[in-house]
């Protein structure tokens, strides 16, 4: 009888439950989308009860599908959309408001006020990251300020806070009836409330943000016992939890300093393992917790998030109607040999890493009558490659670590033209793994490692297999190196354009 692991990937648009075998292969998969609420401009909300129902339902279905294969599910791991904030009543299990999603920008004014405080330096000093509306702490503060009686109820210990993994684990382990209130260290590191060296809630950060400690879950390692799920028909130990991008890093087996992955989806998320020492950043990447195995030191990572990658291809499809489906961009781009001097900076709502310029706006530069839709398609794909180079250079400056190869995943990795461009523009090999579901796989690996399904991370490394590799072409790499200042100029122009 084989032993399997159930992974739940609670993402921004859907919840997926996947059963994996010991070889890291998918045995069954179920998925269910949830509603997106946009009550005001810039606000994005989810219904936590709907997400919990979808989790139960997809997990039960995936377990049932896997039951026909000769295997026993021995552990459950969770990967989740990061920084999305839930506050609920511990007695009834009902959220006091809908979940505030990581894309939500309602805390902008609050963040401006907090940043102006004379003691604001403590946030970067302790949490490792500047104050930003991107993280969960300001959202929690917003809920306490905005929902009637929330603060007094929180202080009396009637309310609980959590990011999605905390909400799901509490419900899976019994909810109001003895549910376990825990978070993992990667998710906790995205709240701005945790001391990034001790990995414990920091009393001064809590005071700075005005958060009562009674709300907070216990911080646990990412790999280790978290509780026992009793809500799925059969008791399953929950032994792994990671934020989704950290889960992808884990699923890509990036366990050594320098190893890095980039997920190319709507945006792109590049994480590089930096080992057990926290890197203080100066160049625009951010320091974050990569993972922690129970009883072992915390591993850190540098992260570079780019808001618009695949979203730019969607714009070419939906906004301009130049292509019928996203993959067709490669066909259009291959009608020409180069970008014809055209550059697209997709700063639709500012630029994230490494620039952090919210005011920047998108532009198409270098237009001449020579430029065709084929050149524009190339420029759109190249924008994702150039932005990857921006992030990689910032990380190299911060960590001093060489990048041996970039491990990639996500929908855009079937685009050979883009992947070759990334290899050339980084002058580094780009490799794609056999299992594209790296987020779910990372959650499964974390959970399976904790119960001894895999002996150690080396066993996980042996599970990782290349499905494709794009190697840099030296002449092309040199050419792109010479072209890079032109891209940098375009980025400066996009920042200047939005400046006033």
């Amino acid at each position: 009888m084989d032993r399997f692991v159930l992974a739940v990937d609670q993402g921004t648009t859907s919840t997926r439950s996947i059963v994996f075998d010991r070889g890291g292969r998918m045995v069954s998969v179920r998925q269910r989308e949830h509603r997106q609420f946009f009550p005001r401009p810039g606000w994005v909300e989810h219904d936590p009860m709907e997400i919990w129902a979808n989790t139960q339902r997809t997990a039960a279905q995936a377990l049932r599908d896997a039951a026909s294969s000769a295997g026993e599910v021995v552990a459950l791991g969770i990967a989740n959309q990061r920084e999305t904030t839930v506050v609920w009543d511990r007695a009834t299990g009902r959220p006091i408001t809908r979940a505030i999603v990581w894309q939500d920008t309602r805390t902008a004014d609050l963040v401006t006020r907090l940043t102006a405080r004379p003691d604001a330096g403590i946030v970067r000093e302790r949490s490792g990251m500047d104050i930003a509306g991107y993280f969960a702490g300001p959202r929690l503060r917003w809920v306490l300020d905005a929902v009637p009686r929330a603060r007094e109820r929180a202080e009396r210990g009637e309310l609980l806070f959590g990011t999605m993994e905390t909400w799901l684990i509490w419900n899976l382990t019994g909810g109001p009836d003895g549910g376990v209130h825990v978070t993992d260290v990667t998710n906790a590191s995205r709240t701005s409330l945790m001391d990034c060296r001790t990995c414990a809630w920091d009393p001064e950060l809590l005071e700075f943000f005005g958060i009562p400690a009674a709300l907070l879950p216990e911080v646990r390692p990412s790999v280790g016992e978290l509780g026992t799920a009793t809500a799925l028909g059969q008791p399953i130990p929950i032994t792994g939890a990671l934020g989704d991008q950290q889960a992808a890093l884990f699923g890509q087996a990036c366990f050594a300093p320098g190893e890095a992955k980039c997920t190319y989806g709507t945006g792109s998320f590049l994480l590089q393992n930096t080992g057990t020492e926290l890197v203080r950043t100066r160049s625009g990447s951010i320091s974050t917790v990569a993972y922690q195995l129970a009883g072992e030191p915390v591993h850190y990572a540098l992260e570079g998030s780019v808001a618009v990658a695949g979203a730019l291809v969607q714009w070419l499809r939906d906004g301009l109607g130049l292509i019928g489906t996203a993959p067709e961009i490669e066909t259009l781009a291959r009608t020409v040999d180069d970008n014809g001097g055209c550059y697209v900076v997709p700063a639709f709502s500012g630029l994230l890493a490494p620039h952090w310029r919210g005011e920047a706006r998108g532009l198409v530069a270098g237009l001449t009558s020579y430029v065709t839709k084929g050149h524009l398609a190339r420029a759109v794909l190249e924008a994702t490659g150039w932005q990857t180079r921006d992030v990689v250079l910032a990380m190299a400056a911060d960590s001093g670590l060489a990048l041996p190869a970039l491990r990639v995943d996500g929908g855009m990795t079937t685009n050979n033209l883009l992947m070759q461009f990334v290899a050339d523009v980084l002058d580094t090999p780009v490799v794609r793994p056999m299992v594209g579901e790296t987020v779910s796989l990372g959650a499964a690996y974390a959970a399976g490692l904790a119960v001894g399904l895999w002996a150690d991370v080396e066993a996980l490394r042996r599970n990782w297999h290349r499905s494709a590799q794009w190697s840099p072409v030296p002449a092309r790499a040199a050419q792109l190196d010479a072209e890079y200042p032109t891209w940098e100029k375009a980025v400066r122009l996009s920042i200047a354009w939005g400046a006033d």
Binding site: R25, M26, T325, T414, A468
Partner: protein
Amino acid sequence: MQSLERAAAILQVVAGSGGTLGVTDIAAAVGLPKTTAHSLLRTLLGVRFVEQDRAGRYALGQGLLRLGTGHLDVNELRSRASNWTDALASRSGQAVRLATLEGERVVVVHHVFRPDDSAQVLDVGTVLPADRTALGRVLVAFAPHRTVRGVDPARADVAAVRARGWAVEDSGWEAGAAGLAAPVRGSTGLVVAALGISGPAETVLDGHRGARPRLVAMVTESAQAISRELGWHG
């Protein structure tokens, strides 16, 4: 031919309405008795050139919209197939390729490495010999125009491939290597690509140099799964 002209007129009226139309309005607009219009609309419904809403009103159908985009983009094909090609490589332990006919040439459009981490080079864009590879043999056997110039049907094993629905090659392309392939069908049922695995002959073939049934099943099932993804319901 009169009915074809009438059907075309009906489609123009429905398209020109910009929304949905009832049968009475359609009949009046093209100057036909309602029963004739109704009978033509039933035929158009059958081939999905029009569709009906709950109120029974007509709009242009998906079949008509697909007509102009009948050509399947190879990059779209790769994207839609990649989940199954990865799984096939993982389960079979062999390299996986997807190939299409470009004119008379058999071209690799997707390639997944053999999952053993040995040095391998992506060969997307490579032209394969049509009669000596399993991928080429499938594409030749199921070519919509039935013959591919310059390929000897006997050497390409056309009759046998058509009869059993998959193709095999033994050291035809590369000494010591063997391959298996099966057809991938698009939404109309036409074969749009061939899906195949290849690897050392002793792993792909059994002791009698026949295809291993387990691998044949994997390849044909994966090809069917991709066909379903592309909208084939056969």
